[in-house]
């Protein structure tokens, strides 16, 4: 099909990169934001702006909260058609309770599952979740969107396309294409070492954009490769659901065997027994970790088959000091507090798996590495964005001659995914600060409204990009780039000001007098983005002015012909 290997690689790189580049841009950008998801949550929910807390006392604080919990609305809606007869008004048989925290969480996420009577598929359970203040046990209002961990983060791996898990599949395909693009990119690049440090902004746009594309791709190559790869590893069970399909009998047998070796019952017993002190079990677990030379806090705590005689408590360590995502779980019999099992040392494949997933999911406490991940993610964005621009630059003169609209459309889509995505992101942050605490009756929940406004902001940016795209078809620059950069600068400053007005947390306060880095960090990052966007606006304005005289030439020529 092609004369040589390099050309065929170039074809793969260009076209697959173009089509899935739009998705990859979203993955990289929201992934970079997700590195600081908890901090963005603090910015978005002012009531949660306090210091991270350890796991609170189960016996005194968590147990009463869990006992008051009931399934949430989505769960009941899901189950309604999956049971024979009506759903019970009160769910009494608790399948499990769980609480999860990290070293960056002031608030605590709790989760519960209930068994459902007369359900057709016995694996179906009712579920509910809440966020509480671990100092008091008070519930946080559930209509508040945790913009970082519940919006930006799922956007990163699922695009909020939940229909049949479509988002996961698109992202997975994009990750696979990313790997192919990296390999083909390395093959295409003739001077990978000779131009390792090369960026020549004073050369023609096409050359300098390609320099930047190569630079951002090559310098962060280990990052790009490992994050695309480990992203696929994390969701391997979704992409290869063998445990649910071909190998389902084996999987079920494995669960039974596992029960035998671990002593942790898979099925609930019919006999009832009260729950002993879980705090005592936590103390014992911490003593055992300390004895192994790895003293630590509790990250995840769960009680399975609550109320049954074979109920057990699992306590996992918060993995703040290592990459591998492991909990060194310790399990106790819930009724007596007797030790049932300590997770054994991991096998080699398991260690590798937990290292790879941990590397991507980053539960560790390491602020430098977090920032370096943000840098890696943003370099990924630069690489993809410059890829789009190069695609357009290379073709737009030719397209202008032949009257093709190809580069015009690609350029408008590039505006949408580069500056448009920033506008959408800033829209949700601004909406979060502007919307009133309590909305009128009949309105959607506050969090839902923020969600809709995000998409509305993005659609508007897209419309603007297309409306303004005509000059591209004449080989010129789309003014939408400049205008949207301008909007980004304004909106980022507005978000910082609105945070100050609505919460009283201005930068002097959050940096100096009442230091609170999560909020100060978001504000500073917004201001830095505003400065960069303003600089980009200035440079684009200068460039458009430089274009003007050339613009008039072909017009006069046309007039001469007419």
């Amino acid at each position: 099909m092609f004369q040589n290997f390099r050309l065929s690689m170039a074809w793969v790189h260009t076209w697959f990169g173009l089509v899935l580049g739009f998705v990859l841009m979203i993955c990289f950008f929201f992934g970079a934001l997700s590195v600081f998801d908890r901090e963005i949550d603090r910015w978005a929910i002012p009531a949660s702006r306090f210091a991270p807390q350890p796991m609170p006392s189960f016996d005194k604080l968590l147990r009463p909260v869990f006992e008051d919990m009931q399934p949430n609305k989505e769960s009941l809606d899901y189950l309604r058609s999956r049971v024979d007869g009506p759903l019970p008004s009160y769910f009494s048989t608790v399948h499990s309770w769980a609480a999860y925290t990290t070293h960056r969480d002031p608030v605590l996420g709790i989760y519960a599952e209930w068994e459902v009577p007369k359900v057709r598929n016995e694996d179906d359970t009712a579920w509910g979740n809440s966020t509480i203040d671990p100092r008091t046990g008070m519930l946080l209002p559930d209509d508040q969107l945790k913009i970082g961990s519940q919006f930006f983060y799922p956007m990163h791996y699922g695009l909020h396309l939940t229909w049949h898990g479509l988002g996961y599949w698109i992202v997975g395909l994009a990750a696979l294409v990313m790997l192919a693009a990296l390999v083909s990119g390395v093959v295409m690049h003739r001077k990978i070492f000779r131009e390792f440090f090369t960026f020549r902004p004073q050369k023609a746009t096409q050359r300098s954009v390609l320099d930047l594309h190569n630079l951002s791709g090559v310098l962060a190559l280990p990052f790009h490769f490992f994050f695309a790869f480990t992203g696929l590893v994390i969701f391997a069970s979704i992409y290869f659901p063998v445990a649910e399909t071909q190998l389902k009998p084996l999987h079920e047998l494995h669960e039974k065997l596992e029960e035998k070796t671990t002593g942790l019952p898979h099925e609930r017993s019919r006999l009832a027994a009260p729950l002993a002190s879980v705090d005592a079990m936590v103390a014992e677990a911490q003593r055992r970790w300390e004895a192994k030379g790895m003293a630590g806090e509790v990250g995840y705590l769960s009680v399975s088959h609550v109320g049954a005689a074979n109920s057990y408590v699992s306590i996992y360590r918060a993995g703040t000091d290592r990459i591998a995502l492991v909990g060194d779980g310790i399990h106790f019999k819930a009724s007596t507090g007797q030790l049932l099992r300590e997770d054994p040392p991991r096998t080699t494949p398991d260690s590798l798996n937990t290292f790879l997933t941990g590397l991507h999911l980053q539960h560790f406490r390491h602020w430098l590495l977090r920032w370096l991940y943000v840098l890696g993610g943003l370099l990924g964005c630069v690489c993809i964005a410059t890829g789009f621009i190069f695609f357009v630059e290379k073709r737009k003169k030719q397209h202008a001659k032949t009257g093709s609209q190809g580069s015009r459309v690609v350029d408008a889509l590039a505006v949408t995914t580069v500056t448009g995505m920033l506008i959408a992101t800033l829209t949700i942050l601004i909406a979060n600060r502007v919307l009133p605490e309590f909305l009128p009756v009949g309105w959607p929940a506050r969090g839902d409204l923020e969600f809709y406004l995000f998409w509305a902001g993005w659609l508007l940016a897209m419309a603007h990009a297309f409306v303004r795209s005509a000059p591209v078809a004449q080989g010129q620059l789309n003014p939408a780039w400049r205008e949207q950069c301008w909007a980004v600068a304004g909106m980022a400053v507005a978000a910082v000001l609105l945070n100050w007005i609505t919460t009283g947390d201005h930068l002097i306060r959050t940096v100096f007098t009442h230091t609170y880095w999560p909020v100060a960090g978001v504000d500073l990052f917004l201001l830095a983005s505003a400065a960069l966007a303003a600089l980009a606006t200035r440079m684009l304005t200068a460039r458009m002015k430089a274009f003007k005289p050339k613009l008039s030439q072909p017009q006069t020529e046309e007039l001469a012909h007419a």
Binding site: F197, F199, L219, A220, P222, L368, L369, G376
Partner: protein, 108 residues
């Protein structure tokens, strides 16, 4: 505080190492020093650059568990290489002081 200093040192040695590796290249040497690269300097600069990168790794290992240190190092090298590339583009003379690594007795 101790860890912060070690990690800062690690990042800075990473930048320095990358700068030496860049200086070992004809084009970049000319950008920084405005004269041709002495033939016998290439190997010296490369060895120095490599040694600095290794030192950066050792500094990372002093702070964290090996699995974490390896990641910090790789990412710090990315940041270092990017810093050098951008300095070469906009402020090449900032790297002049590293030219002593070439072993040339000359005033730059």
């Amino acid at each position: 505080m101790h860890d912060v200093l070690l990690l800062t040192a690690s990042v800075l040695t990473g930048v320095t190492g990358m700068a030496w590796l860049a200086l070992a290249m004809e084009v970049h040497w000319a950008q920084v020093c405005r004269q041709p690269l002495p033939a016998n300097a290439v190997l010296r600069l490369r060895i120095l650059g490599g040694a600095a990168l290794l030192a950066s790794l050792v500094l990372c290992l002093l702070v964290d568990h090996a699995s974490m240190a390896a990641l910090v190092w790789v990412m710090a090298l990315t940041a270092g290489a990017l810093t050098v590339a951008l300095l070469l583009t906009w402020r090449p003379h900032w790297l002049v002081w590293l030219a002593w690594g070439a072993g040339v007795k000359k005033q730059f």
